[in-house]
Symmetry: C2
Subunit: 338 residues, 2 copies
DNA sequence: CTGAAAGCGCTAACAA
DNA sequence: TTGTTAGCGCTTTCAG
């Protein structure tokens, strides 16, 4: 059974001719050592490649420097834009402050909450990072009840810890609609998927607010399923209506793909006959023709803020007083016309 | 400092009126307990929600049930298809056998190898999962020298542990070329990026072998940078040459996007005037017009095989005698014509 | 400034 | 079948 035991604090102490304690101090309270001792010990630690055993340290300190991230299931038919860029940003941000990310997935037959409980009870991590957080997310309720530290990408309820970061989708879509209004569009459509995820709701709210503010005529459409075929069908209806909108706001870049496809089939040229804007700025948007106007999520800022809040909660034991709402970044490209 | 201590084995023992050992046995060697004791203790464990402290258990056993995955940096300009589906598959496979994935990223100024060493020395994980493995990957050499368990997505050298899984890209591209030959194409082009990643080399080798086998005329092109603009430029040259190929094999779906773009600009219709096939089957390929013929990686099988090898190495202490080469799956869609 | 002692929670080996 | 003893490697008192 391997028992891959490495160099222990004892080994270093013996080599240095001091007690174990001195080695520990060199690492955790260097100011307590006489400079010359410190230097000697430090060099020896370096030479031997000594690192405190994480488990022993954790057992003693109760702290693990690991953050659990329950990974959303990534459905190829409707890829989660988060899995790519968000995780990347989170790993980088956590790494900067000496934390690592442990991916969590409920075992078959296990609920999300049970999976959280298991990790909490086994004291495997210091905190949780939640994404795709619903307005009344059971995971948030559960962690709040357990008094366990977490931070959420997505707003939580007012009576819950305000350790959340979110994108101001409402405002971003209002700006998107404003852009269209400024180019003379009067009839605009909004294309969403069926789900009631809060971020989608926000985008819809933004659309409505934008339409109202600019005195436009807005229509709303929903794609029934996640498949491309269904999406294209709905979009074609949208384009064939008698009062065809001159502009479409899609709630996500994936939905916009359906508009590209349907427009081609209908002989409508995006950018010329129809303006199109969307949300997420997936990497592929720049490759589309014409390139897609969309809203970029400030993923690095989001990740950094989330990790910051997490660390604060874990290390200070305090919870942020208020959530953080970050602006989305408009990326204007030819799909809304010249 | 929080000291979020939970229920310990001691608490359960006291509640059950037995010794700690009995609780431990109930979990680790149930057959040693009298059935009725076992049942009583088990119920109590359930009720109290007791879970052995992971750190204490690890300290004692030397095993952590955690696999480290050094995450490739995900460049938005050239997204790594792995980050999406591969990670998803790995998390699922590892979860099935009770392991979790710890994401690793070297700290600023730290080399890949140093990051590995740190984790090894601190005994944070049981094994490493490596992806994007180069033919002579320093990480593989390092882990081999350290005698630390790992499994690699990508072939390793013959003198290294053969704990790898890979896709038979050569064969897959030969089949792709065969498909084109069968439809009467004689002049075919291969479009790659500049990097010398082994999987790209394999795809090129496959192209050459396919061309040879079918007596075709092959040309090869390289996109200099990762940006879409450069890619389109090269592709346009490809399409403007005097002996324009009638079919293009792109080494990856992202490269194929450049062909779509350039073809549109040149007034060439893919599927009719030009056949196009690629590799990876990214989610977006089904949305392209016409939909793209490509090669799908068997990500679940790859992940399962990798995790299996890892577990074998960790738990049995033996290394697989040979690597595992898995076939890619041809996904035929309209881009190669009717 | 350094050393000795105690114990974090668990399990393997042995004793009863 | 169950309980006792010891110790995994570390850090936190508390003495020296």
């Amino acid at each position: 059974m391997a028992a891959r035991r490495g160099i222990t604090i004892e080994d270093v102490a013996r080599a240095a001719g001091v007690s174990r304690q001195t080695i520990s101090n060199a690492l955790n309270a260097p100011q307590r050592l006489k400079p010359e001792t410190l230097e000697r010990v430090t060099r020896l630690i370096e030479e031997l490649g000594y690192r405190p055993d994480q488990s022993a340290r954790s057992l003693k300190s109760g702290t693990r420097r690991i953050i659990a991230y329950p990974t959303p299931v990534d459905d190829p038919a409707n890829p989660n834009p988060l899995m790519g860029g968000f995780l990347e940003a989170v790993v980088a941000s956590a790494g900067e402050v000496g934390y690592r990310i442990l991916l969590l997935r409920p075992r078959p037959g296990q609920s999300q909450e049970q999976a959280l409980d298991e990790v909490i009870a086994a004291r495997t991590v210091d905190a949780f990072l939640l994404s795709d957080v619903m307005r009344d997310d059971p995971r948030v309720a559960h962690l709040t009840a357990a008094g366990f530290p977490f931070a959420a990408f997505g707003r939580t309820m007012p009576d819950q810890p305000q350790s959340w970061v979110d994108v101001d989708s409402v405002q971003a879509v209002i700006e998107l609609v404003g852009l269209l209004a400024a180019r003379g569009h009067r009839r605009v459509a909004f294309l969403a998927s069926v789900g009631a995820q809060p971020w989608m709701e926000d985008r819809r709210d933004g659309f409505r607010a934008g339409v109202r503010r600019h005195g436009l005529v807005g229509q709303e459409f929903s794609a029934p399923g996640d498949g491309p075929a269904e999406l294209v069908t709905v979009t074609r209806e949208l384009l064939r209506g008698r009062n065809r909108p001159t502009a479409v706001v899609a709630a996500g870049d994936w939905l916009a793909l359906g508009v590209y496809a349907a427009a081609r089939e209908e002989g409508i040229e995006i950018g010329a006959d129809l303006a199109l804007a969307a949300f997420d700025d997936l990497p592929l948007t720049a490759f589309l023709h014409p390139a897609l106007t969309t809203v970029r999520l400030p993923l690095q800022r989001i990740a950094r803020a989330l990790i910051g809040r997490l660390i604060q909660t874990v290390e200070d034991g305090t919870t942020p007083q208020a959530g953080l709402l970050l602006p989305g970044e408009l990326v204007v490209r030819p799909s809304i016309g010249p």
